[in-house]
Each structure stands twice: as C-alpha cells, then as structure tokens.
C-alpha cells in the first residue's frame, strides 16, 4: 500500500514558492522545508492504557537563507490567509536584526559559501504492507492487551508489563530556487517491557521492534512475550560483574550501539568543522581490525532513518565510513561540507522543523563477516556474550566509550555457564576496542527504536546494528 503524499503540503507549495521568490530579491539563497508528520502511539500497561498522538507529530516550516555572509533560519507554523507578504516582511526583519546584532557585538561570521545547487526534482512515495487504518484503535488495544495478559499468565513475579506500538507517517517538501523535492514514508516502532520483582530486587527486560512498516509490526511483536518474561526472571538472579578486561561477543544490538556511539558520532563532519573530531587525524589510516567495515546511509537499507532526501534537500546516499579497518570518510550536512569542501552525504537532519539541521547519523552498521556465532562462543576461554543495552554516550574528541549494556552471559571454556551479570558498563578507547575485533559473524540485524541525541538534545530517528562481533573490552 502506497503511503500517499500530503494534501496540506501540496496546497501550500505555490505560496512557499512565492515566499522564496520574494526573499530571493533580498538574499542570494533561500530554501524552505515543510513537514507534515502524523503519528499515533498505543500503550497498554498493567496499570493503564493510553492512546496519544506521537511526539513526532508536527506541521510547519523552516526557512533557510544565506545573506552573503552566512546562514539564518526562521521556523514558523502559521501563515495568515493566502498571502505571504506579512511572513516575507517578518523573516526579512528577523534576518536583518540578527545581522545587526552580531555586527554591533563585533562577532565575526563563520565563512560558509553560498550553496551551489543543481536542478533536482523528486517525488517519492514509499509502501508498507498494512495501512495504519487496517485495524481500529480498539482492535490494536486488544492485541497489545493480549501480549500484556500473557506475560502475567507466565509468572507471578511479573509485576508490570508494557506493550507499546507507534506509527508515524512522514511527509516532507523541500523547495529552493533549483530544487523541488517531496517524499512520504511510514515508520513504526514497538516495545515490549516486562518488570519483575523477587524479594527486594526489581529488574526489567525490554525488546524493541522497528522499521519502514505499517501495522504489520504488531505481527512481529506477537510471539516474543515468553522470551521477555524469561529474560526478566533471569535478570533477577543476575550477579554483579567483577570490573576488568574480558573477551566479549557483542550481539547485533550491542555492535550497533558501538558503531553508533563509539564511532558514528565521531565522523559527523560538523564535528570536523569545530575541531571536535579525533577522526580527522585518522582519515585513510587504520582505526579498526581488517575485519571491520562500517556504513552509514539513508539509502542502501530499509529502517527508520531511510529516506529519499534529507532535511536540507540533499539526496540520500550510502557512505562507506570504514573499509576493511581503514577510516575512509565522514558523513555531512550541507554547511559542514561546504566549509570542508567535500560533498554532502545526505545526513543533514533536524529534530523537527523547529530545530537546526546538523550532520546526523541515519542507519549505521558494521557489515557482516563470515564467522559462525557458535564458533565465536567456542573460541572463548573466559568472557561474556553481551546482549541488549540501556544507553550509550559519544565522545567524538577523545574517542571514549560509554555503553550501558543490559546483561552479559558468562562463557567458560567455550560454553555458557548459565551465570548472568547485569548491568554491564563498557568503557574504553574506541580504536583499541575496534582493533581488538577478531571475529565477525555472518548475521545482520538493524534496530531503530528510540531516538539519538546530539550532546543531550536534538533527538532524531536513527537505526544501528550489524553482526555479532568478538572483541576485548573493559567492563565494570
């Protein structure tokens, strides 16, 4: 089923073109991004039910102009009547006030060249298997309630359960003097969360589901409750890990976290412009084992951050960041690419029309290798298989790692002992970790639940993943 284009954005297209045309008489570059995003979130917990619009829902515009010295942007979500005259005057006035303020404070401008765009036209509509109205809200709540009830039936130690599904329909329109791009796609995500308690110990297990999907994501969620309940009960008997350096096997979700947090943030090229990226010193040098190749791109794979063009009107691409252990290139937005004199890679993303575009990751992953998971487990004398994660944090300048991993399964003499450690904090130095990778499995999984921040804000949808990898890591 086709996802359909936005009637609202189509209705505003001519007005926006008029606004651009008016402003082009004052400024050498003008573009507008229009967004029309609708989403619903269905949440069934043991203690209550919620149906809300998705937090990603929005409708509005961001106008970007270059005044010959630098960029200025204005975000808005009202247009009075059928005239853009008032808006034109306001934007012009705001841009001039900004320039006067910086001038009065003697603040110099970063020299960013005026964009040199090519003529481009895109009209992209994605498809999903099941439309968002394939089931009524009542039917959706009933299915999620079934998952919740099953968890309680499986164990009395389960004290709360959440089954959540969210569907978001994204429409975007990008217009400039030379570009006319529109796209439409749907992404969905789901969570199953099981909270268990024994004596005074409380633990939870959580599993995410995601993709460029419609209501078919509910079918994927079905059938995982047993696994979630078992994991939660297993965590109740988890022990603390003795801090140290261990042989580890990272599951695809943990591999993805490493690709994303440990390396991905460090190759966002606005960090190159700011002198915040250690990666600059390592371009065309080894940063990982020869077994490691890493990609980022909105093209090439289908996950929640796959699209036809980014929020600056650059077409999506697939960037090979690490090739056989050698750092080849970074990912960029338009501004950083123009300053660094490189090509933008389609990674200019905004949290919403109200926020600035930055160089951001899309779908970031290690390529699969040729090893078998069972051989990797058998190769470990003493170590852990690390599964799932709670959070991670980047350190682009100093390449430190912080990954908070949900649990580790102890391995002795190539076999699981049944002992679980939780939680596990993985820290260390990125190249040391990546260079220690000695085996890479032939599996491949991507996951795109949650959101990624830049620093502690600017949340955007991304996905990450890859194969199982064997490495040496400091755990605590």
């Amino acid at each position: 089923m086709k996802t359909g284009q936005s009637v609202f954005l189509e209705a505003k297209r001519s007005l926006l073109k008029e606004l651009i045309s008016n402003l082009e008489s004052d400024f050498p570059y003008v573009s507008v991004l229009g967004t029309d995003v609708k989403g619903k979130q269905y949440n069934v917990m043991t203690t209550g039910v919620k149906i809300n619009d998705s937090m990603w829902s929005e409708r509005g515009f961001v106008l970007r102009l270059h005044d010959g010295k630098g960029y200025f942007e204005f975000s808005f979500n009202t247009i009075e009547g059928d005239s853009v005259e008032e808006l034109y005057q306001e934007i012009k006035e705001r841009a001039m006030m900004f320039r006067e303020l910086t001038k009065s404070q003697k603040i110099q401008q970063v020299s960013a060249p005026i964009p040199d765009e090519k003529e481009e036209s895109v009209n992209f509509e994605d498809e999903v298997n099941l439309a968002l109205d394939h089931q009524t809200p009542g039917e959706i709540i009933e299915r999620l309630t079934g998952m919740k009830n099953l968890a309680h039936e499986l164990s009395d130690e389960v004290i709360n359960v959440m089954a959540l599904m969210e569907n978001v329909q994204v429409h975007k329109l990008f217009l400039s003097g030379k570009k006319e791009l529109c796209q439409s796609y749907i992404w969905s995500q789901g969570y199953l969360y099981v909270l268990a308690r024994r004596d005074n110990k409380t633990k939870y297990s959580i599993k995410g589901f995601s993709g460029l999907k419609g209501l078919e994501i509910l079918d994927e969620m079905d059938g995982h409750i047993n696994e979630l309940v078992n994991n939660a009960l297993l965590l109740l008997s988890a022990e603390k890990i003795e801090p140290g350096v261990y042989d580890v096997i990272c599951s695809p979700s943990v591999s993805g976290l490493i690709a994303h947090e440990a390396f991905g943030h460090g190759v966002e090229m606005d960090m190159f412009v700011k002198g915040r990226a250690k990666a600059v010193e390592y371009l065309n040098k080894p940063v990982a084992s020869e077994l490691v190749s890493m990609h980022d791109g909105a093209a090439g794979v289908r996950e929640v951050s796959s699209y036809a063009f980014d929020d600056e009107g650059t077409l999506a691409s697939d960037t090979l960041v690490i090739e056989k252990g050698i750092l080849k290139r970074g990912i960029s937005d338009i501004c950083s690419a123009s300053i660094l004199k490189t090509q933008p890679t389609g990674n200019g993303k905004r949290e919403s029309f109200e926020r600035k575009a930055y160089a951001r990751m899309t779908n970031t992953y290690f390529s699969p290798g040729s090893d078998k998971l069972e051989d990797m487990i058998a190769s470990i004398d003493y170590g852990f298989l690390l599964e799932d994660y709670y959070s991670g944090m980047e350190d682009p300048k100093n390449w430190g790692i912080q990954c908070l991993i949900a649990y580790g399964k102890e391995i002795k003499n190539g076999q699981f002992t049944g002992k679980i450690v939780s939680p596990v904090m993985m820290t260390g130095y990125v190249p040391s970790l990546l260079k220690s990778i000695s085996m890479v499995s032939d599996d491949f999984e991507l996951s795109g639940t949650g959101a990624c921040g830049k620093g502690h804000k600017e949340f955007a949808k991304v996905s990450a993943g890859g194969p199982y990898i064997k490495a040496k890591a400091r755990l605590g």
């Binding site: 619903k40 043991t46 203690t47 039910v49 149906i51 809300n52 619009d53 409708r59 630098g70 960029y71 200025f72 942007e73 204005f74 975000s75 808005f76 979500n77 009202t78 841009a95 900004f98 303020l101 910086t102 009065s104 404070q105 603040i107 110099q108 401008q109 970063v110 960013a112 809200p137 009542g138 709540i141 909270l195 308690r197 409380t202 939870y204 801090p243 140290g244 700011k274 002198g275 915040r276 109200e354 600035k356 959070s391 944090m393 980047e394 350190d395 300048k397 100093n398 430190g400 912080q402 908070l404 939680p423 904090m425 820290t427 130095y429 620093g455 502690h456 804000k457 755990l475 605590g476």
Partner: protein
C-alpha cells in the same frame, strides 16, 4: 484558532476535555569558537488537547482519554476529523475514573525584562570567554525563548502564565598531551551574563585539569565524591521513588512513614518539591493539568512524608494531589565540600552521561573528569567508570554548600561509599 478548537471539542461528544496553547518566540545563536556559525529564530504556536470519555461497567466508573497535537495550520475538516478520531479512540481506553482540575480563572503575573539587552550582554560574555591559558571555548549554542502558556478545560478552568527559558550548550577544549574537551549544558530562566560568564570560566578551569589527567587507576572500593551535575541525577532517584505514578505503576515500593533510603549510614535525606526556583529554567505555577502546584515536603529525615504527583495518579493512590512539580530541593548536609575531601576518595564532576535507573536503582557512568585524592595529593583522572546500585550504598554524606543545577537546588557534592570503580 483556540476558539475553533474549543468549539470543536464542545461539539465532539466527549465527556470532558483539556486544552493547552503554547506560543514560543525564540532566538538562537550557534558559535564555533568566537565566530557565529548560524543564527536562528522561531515563532510557533502549539495546541495539545486531551479528550475524556466516561463510561461504566456495573458499579465501576471508567474514564477513557486520548491526547492529540493540533497544528494551527489545520483546516476545519482536519480539526473535526482529528478530534472525532480521538473521541472514538478514547472509548477503547479503560482506565479507572479520575477527576480533572476544578474551574478557576487566573492570569499569573509575569515580569518582563529587556531581553534584547540581556541577550547582547550574554553574547558578549560568550565571546569574551574565549581565551584562558591553554583552554578555550570550542563551540556553544545559546537558545533564549519567551513562552506563553494557556490551559483550559471543560470544567471552566482558564489559566495562563509566561516564562523565559535560556539554554546554553558549551564545549570547552584544552591542549595537553592530546587535546581534550568537556561538555556542559546550563539552564536558566533569563539569560544572565554574569552567571554564564562564571559558568564558562569554571568549565575552562576544569577542562585544563582534564588536559593533565591520568588514566583512572584500578581502585578498591574507596568512597566516591560526586560533584555538580551527577549529584542532581543521583538524588533524583529519591524524588522519583516518591512519585505517585511510579508508585501506582508498582515501580516504586516506598511507603508513607517508611525510609526511602537503604541501610546506609551518614546523612538522612530531606527533599521538597517546589513550583519555582529563582532563575531556574524549569518551573511554572501550575502543572500540565492547570493544577496549582503546592511546594511541599516529600521526604523528611529519610522518611517518606508525602507522595507527589498529578491529579490523576494522586486520586488513584487516594492522596491529596500536589501537582506535578518540575523542580526539587534537597536540604544540605553538615560537612563542607573540603571536609568531605578529607579522606582518600575518587571525586567525579563529569561523566560521559549519568545513568541512574529509577526502576532498579542502578547507577553508573564513564568518568570524563575526576580526581583521585589520598588525603594529601589530588590527581586529575579520566576514563574508567563508576557503577553501583543506589539501594546498596553503605554511606552517604551531603555537602553544606548548595547550588542551582537545572531543576535542582541542593548540595553541590555528596560522598558515597559502596560504588565500584573500574580503572586501568
């Protein structure tokens, strides 16, 4: 737009409704070192509505609800469709009945400031903070917003208030054996150039320390002294345990009159929720339901005195609602920070991120900047991690120096025993 929405809500067949209008006007400045990278401005309106649908089964009363985001750019048909759709969906939401805020009408006073002047002074403070021995401001982002909020409901509630919010993200760097950096976000109500200048100056001093830091050594279980932002996240755990929704959702197990702390020795925690803190980023006279927030003692000498929370979850617990406050205050301890430092310890001011799990009590983070002290010598360190569980700490001591950090006012430092330290 607001009248059109209210008319549609009244015509929708919902038992009741709540509507929040937010108007935001902001200016944003993005610096790379002392140069302007990009300027931005924003003028937006947001409408968030909740529709309520009541029904009964036997003698049990239920209240279904559904919340929706309404753009001012919706046309009449879209508005009708969105609200009718939400009312239809709310009919499938079977939650125990709860009240919504009673009628009152109030426009809370707001002290306007000369924002243009304050922004100018703040920009000057950022630019002038650029040089300091071997440390510098790598980049910064300043967001200054004026926000007007109006909350109405079908009971006749109509209240409005305004506030300023200032957010400064600063990255500072320093040269050393290799260049290092520290990240900071600073949240205030109005842009205060003196406070911002001092904050950046402190950051420059700290990043200089990181530039000479050694790798965190492998340490036995010596006490950990948390200073600055990590203190807030550690103490937030106790705040959250007392939250009505956390209790109702069975995540928290704390009971009125019983201890919220474990078996640790040292200081007992006393904690208040407060509607507003002077010049704090967060805070409003009312919560999202328009309910007047009562500042109130929540924890006293380590014992839970009151749950705190919104009208719905307080009703479920059968306690008086306090309103869902955005700020909290923790009472200081007896020892000065210097006194807390009078024993071998690891002090940490900056983690990569502080992970404090409100469900399990697990706490941890990778050390970006800390100091190992043996009582005489204090050596800056970086790397490694601190982990542990807040429920299993063996001792806690709060400093008598206090500070404002985002939504928190309270001790600047806390000394904790019972955490593990992973180092080289």
């Amino acid at each position: 737009m607001i009248k059109k929405i209210i008319d549609q809500l009244n015509a929708s067949g919902a038992t009741g409704w709540k509507l929040t209008e937010t108007v935001v006007d902001s200016q944003e400045y993005f610096f790379v070192k002392d140069k302007m990278d990009i300027g931005r401005a924003k003028k937006v309106q947001h409408y968030e509505a909740t529709v309520y649908v009541d029904f009964s089964e036997g003698s049990e009363k239920y209240r279904g609800s559904s919340s929706l985001t309404l753009s001012p750019l919706l046309n009449a048909n879209e508005l009708e469709e969105a609200i009718d759709g939400a009312v239809f969906a709310a009919g499938f939401v079977k939650n125990p009945w709860y009240p919504i805020t009673e009628a009152y009408s109030k426009d809370f006073p707001f002290e306007k400031i000369d924002l243009k002047k304050q922004v100018k002074q703040t920009l000057a403070a950022i630019v002038n903070a650029q040089s300091n021995t071997n440390a510098w401001v790598n980049s910064s982002e300043l967001f200054v917003s004026e926000i007007q909020t109006r909350i109405l409901n079908s009971n006749g509630l109509d209240c409005s208030f305004s506030k300023y919010q200032t957010y400064l993200e600063t990255i500072v760097s320093a040269a050393g054996k290799e260049e290092v950096e520290l990240y900071d976000d600073y949240q205030l109500s109005v842009p205060n150039s003196e406070l911002i200048g001092n904050r950046i100056s402190d950051l420059l001093t700290m990043v200089s320390e990181r530039s000479i830091a050694q790798a965190t050594p492998s340490l036995k279980k010596i006490p950990v002294l948390l200073t600055g932002e990590p203190v807030k996240e550690f103490l937030r755990y106790y705040l959250q345990q007392a939250n009505a929704q956390m209790k109702y959702d069975k995540i928290s197990e704390v009971e009125i009159g019983k201890s919220v702390q474990g078996k640790e020795s040292g200081d007992s925690i006393s904690l208040d929720i407060v509607s507003q803190l002077e010049n704090a980023y967060y805070g409003a006279p009312v919560d999202d339901d328009g309910f007047l927030i009562r500042s109130q003692r929540i924890i006293e000498n380590g014992l839970l005195k009151n749950y705190w929370g919104d009208i719905r979850y307080s009703h479920y617990l059968g306690v008086e609602p306090t309103g869902s406050a955005e700020n909290f205050k923790v009472f200081p301890g007896k020892a000065s920070v210097e006194e807390l430092r009078n024993q071998p310890h690891l002090e940490v001011s900056h983690f990569s991120a502080v992970d404090a799990d409100m469900t399990t009590g697990d706490f941890g983070g990778e050390i970006r900047l800390g100091w190992v002290a043996d009582g005489n010598k204090r050596t800056p360190v970086s790397g490694g991690s601190v982990t542990g569980n807040i429920r299993e700490i063996t001792s806690i001591k709060l400093s008598n120096e206090v500070h404002l950090e985002g939504d928190y006012f309270g001790p600047r430092s806390i000394l904790i025993e019972g955490f593990s330290i992973a180092g080289e």
